[in-house]
Subunit: 218 residues, 2 copies
Amino acid sequence: MYSYTEENYLKALFNLASSKGEVSVNDLSKHLAIKMPTVNSMAKKLAEKKLLLYESYKPLRLTEKGKKEAALVIRKHRLTEMFLVQEMGFGWEEVHEIAEQIEHLQSPLFFEKMDEILGYPTIDPHGSPIPDKTGKLEWIHYEKLSDCTPGETVKLAAVIHTTDEFLKFLNNHQLFLGVKLKVKSVESFDGSVRITYNKTKEETLSLTVAERLLVEKL
Amino acid sequence: MYSYTEENYLKALFNLASSKGEVSVNDLSKHLAIKMPTVNSMAKKLAEKKLLLYESYKPLRLTEKGKKEAALVIRKHRLTEMFLVQEMGFGWEEVHEIAEQIEHLQSPLFFEKMDEILGYPTIDPHGSPIPDKTGKLEWIHYEKLSDCTPGETVKLAAVIHTTDEFLKFLNNHQLFLGVKLKVKSVESFDGSVRITYNKTKEETLSLTVAERLLVEKL
DNA sequence: GTAATAACTTAGAAGCATCTAACAATAATA
DNA sequence: TATTATTGTTAGATGCTTCTAAGTTATTAC
């Protein structure tokens, strides 16, 4: 078993590595809001436990063991988010904070029960895939809305880099997973995307938003 | 907010005080499986926070503030147990361990949601009362089965001093809350109680068991 | 290619919760 | 009451996670 703290480092390492490829001490420090010397010594500790590879002045890299453990933490997090939304009626913008805590509970039985109740889900409420019990994670390849071309009709499949604010924004615009979007135009000078959806709605989304919306082409 | 550890001390203090009146450092040490010097220094720390009254060589006594905070931890524990049983399908013998962890989550919203989903319950799966949001706890006065007299018909209302083993024993004998028991006889030399219930069942319960079954006279 | 900036590391300290060893006070017992 | 046993306290240490201060290496900019 790994400590609360260790699990958080593993999770952060995994998430940062999947978006950036490598993880510097500085990246991790900023992401966790923990000072660099602390991160540095924790990295050495995780390296001793064979969870990551540490070399002075080099980026940090999870070992296979580290990746697996990290994925299992992420599994617990995403299962929890799904449970909070589906079974307890929370909004998708409310669940992250709570799941950050529940993911560290030491009770395999509890997570198995959630999984069972949810019917063994493969994605979380934000469309992110849930790693399986062995730590395997399949990212379905979706397009960013910002990469679509005018005339295409797509389905909103996942949202990335989510924050509560961003999710509230999507709520306000009735942009939920599964909604069909028709791309009307893409502005070349600022990357904003004009879409129509829900029969009547028409909106222009900034590049910042459009880059975070992953869609499935229909 | 109080730490995980502090909440555990408060809860233990409250539970021990309600059964024993006073709580010695030694009692608390044994109950928490934490050595006396540690308990001693923690007691001083809690005293500084006005949660308990500490005097050298005297038993520990929670202040009103301490009692309230303790009751609120117990509230979270019992609400959680109820949720695990009623909404997640756990057995009453499985929930204690999990609730011990969930009770420390820092999310008022999460516990409010559980309360709401459960319909604002007043007792937990073992028949223990759930303190209200202000920390008030009403113990309904039940009789121990061991204090009943032959001929009485009673309803099993609560079980106390529960352990997983004890709860499994009750499961095996189909002794669930709400079951009606008819007292056939009480042995004066060992205190064992012979009962009939569920139409056909007839059992002799030892004093150890009968003392832990709280019943409502009908 | 040197100077400035940013990133990384080392060293040392602090808070929290825990421990052991040694000593002090109270309670039980003979 | 004197002795013994139990309970409580103090002092000092440890592991974990965090920090600041100070120095080192790598990167960027001129």
